[in-house]
């Protein structure tokens, strides 16, 4: 009995369990799913939120792969579960941005938003702020959690972003994106 209790306590306090690695990425996907439901139907329904959350897990997956591909320090960190967890703790800016977008479309009629011409500019400008804020948070992650020098932290951040954004944007808008790039480069 005592041994079993100790095991339970150990499991609960174990900072290296797989749950530690997946809890934040899964919550990111769930929040994206909820935001998609609110954006697309104005209602938070599991009919849309659950499949959307499942589909959008590609975002945290791509980020995790990019993190370990870009950062030797992340690969050497010993406890990959904790590294993933700490990395995703810096996703607050993106979640804040998405929550704002969802609130905007949930409480204001879509036609009214679309009739207001600056709406696209506001989406892009606010996304730019989230990008900058998130980059700062991740820079701090590389500096403090992975104990990197300023230069190495900046390098890892740029490489991680280059990998994650290239793959992510290809999945998100590869059809028109490829045409736009190819047309400009004369390919």
């Amino acid at each position: 009995m005592e041994i079993q209790a100790k095991r339970v306590i150990a499991r609960k306090t174990d900072p290296t369990g797989v749950w530690i690695a997946v809890r934040r990425p899964l919550l990111v996907a769930l929040i994206i799913g909820c935001v998609v439901s609110l954006l697309d139907s104005g209602v938070l329904t599991p009919r849309l939120a659950i499949p959307a959350a499942f589909w959008w897990t590609y975002v945290p997956l791509v980020e995790i792969l990019a993190l370990f591909a870009a950062s030797p320090a992340a690969r050497r960190s010993g406890c990959w579960q904790r590294t993933i967890d700490r990395y995703f703790a810096g996703h607050g800016p993106w979640l804040f941005w998405m929550a704002g977008l969802a609130a905007w479309f949930a409480f204001i009629p879509t036609v009214a938003i679309l009739s207001w011409r600056p709406h696209i500019q506001i989406v892009f400008d606010s996304a730019a702020l989230a990008i900058a804020w998130s980059a700062y948070a991740d820079f701090q992650f590389f500096r403090r959690n992975l104990k990197q020098s300023t230069w190495r932290a900046a390098r890892d951040l740029v490489i991680q972003r280059a990998i994650a954004w290239t793959v992510g944007l290809t999945i998100f808008l590869g059809g028109a994106g490829y045409q736009t790039v190819a047309s400009r480069l004369g390919l």
């Binding site: 938070l44 599991p46 059809g175």
Partner: protein, 304 residues
């Protein structure tokens, strides 16, 4: 922190419950006018992945049905496989009438190729693209034909073009876009189309085309577009063949907006509270840290 997280989960569960109640769509009666059945269609819906959108082809198709659409064109940008996937799922698991489609997203023009079988290259001229669409048995709709794209629609293209978007979200709040789409539509007799150009912001079917058909089938929908049996209503103005416009004007139900269940509003409010609390907890435990693990150490103790 656990208390706030717990409240967030309870709110989320309550929002899901209210959202499920709001999801129960009221039965919509079929509308018949002048010997035709009137279908509601949206011919410019982009799925995810690859087309800057949020829902998979099948979820998009089912959501469109939920929004009261009878016919949809699932149109990936420069690809056809997502439209074909939605078409397959609708045929085997049920859904609205789905036309596998593509938005030919070229540098000089955008065009919806509805009811095709294989990808049409964006490198073709508009005239050649329309020729290929017709060869595959589909119809060609000029997508948001603003003045900048007019040179691409030369005489050869205009001669073959089947339809043109006369209403889509680009016209909201823009008199110039409204005038340009309407001017393009008057270049020749063609089917009037209203499309949402859906990328995941707002519901599918925000702009919809009424089709006057003899049956709800893919072939009949394509035939209706070729024969200009469509009507579009835009802020007091009608577009389409005069005899069909007259029929549409006589039926008030076509202009009625779906009434939202009160559970929808409850779900929205609870859902936003749940998301807001979850994001708040995220900040409290993570970046910028005021949680117990401190600003720099976003450690495993940081609660989710």
């Amino acid at each position: 922190m656990i208390g706030l997280r717990g409240i967030s989960w309870v709110l989320l569960a309550a929002a899901f419950a209210a959202g499920t109640l709001a999801d129960i769509a009221p039965a919509r009666p079929r509308i018949f006018l002048g010997g035709y059945r009137v279908l509601s269609g949206d011919f410019h819906l982009h799925p995810s992945p690859y087309s800057a959108s949020t829902l998979t082809p099948w979820d998009l198709m089912w959501e469109a049905q939920h929004q009261g659409l009878d016919v949809v064109a699932i149109a990936g940008q420069n690809e056809i496989w997502s439209g074909r996937a939605a078409h397959w799922v609708a045929r085997h698991l049920g859904g609205p009438t789905v036309l596998a489609s593509e938005e030919i997203h070229g540098p000089d023009f955008h065009m919806i190729a509805v009811g095709i079988r294989s990808t049409v290259s964006w490198r073709l001229t508009a005239a050649k693209a329309i020729g290929e669409i017709h060869r595959q048995g589909g119809v060609a709709i000029a997508a948001h034909p603003s003045a900048g794209s007019w040179p691409a629609f030369d005489a050869a293209a205009m001669q073959q073009l089947d339809a043109s978007e006369v209403l889509q979200p680009a016209v909201f709040g823009s008199d110039s876009a409204t005038a340009e789409l309407r001017a393009f539509f008057t270049r020749k007799p063609m089917a009037a189309i209203a499309s949402t150009d859906w990328h995941g912001l707002g519901p599918p079917g925000l702009c919809r085309t009424w089709l006057f058909v003899h049956s709800n089938s893919e072939e009949e929908v394509l035939r209706a577009i070729r024969e200009r049996r469509t009507v579009v209503y835009d802020r007091g103005d009608y577009f389409g063949r005069p005899e069909l416009v007259k029929l549409a004007m006589s039926e008030g139900r076509l202009r009625e907006k779906a009434k939202e269940s009160r559970w929808g509003a409850v779900s929205r409010i609870l859902g936003m509270l749940a998301i807001g609390l979850a994001v708040g907890c995220w900040f409290k435990s993570g970046v910028g840290g005021c949680g117990k693990t401190g600003a720099g150490d976003r450690g495993p103790g940081a609660g989710v």
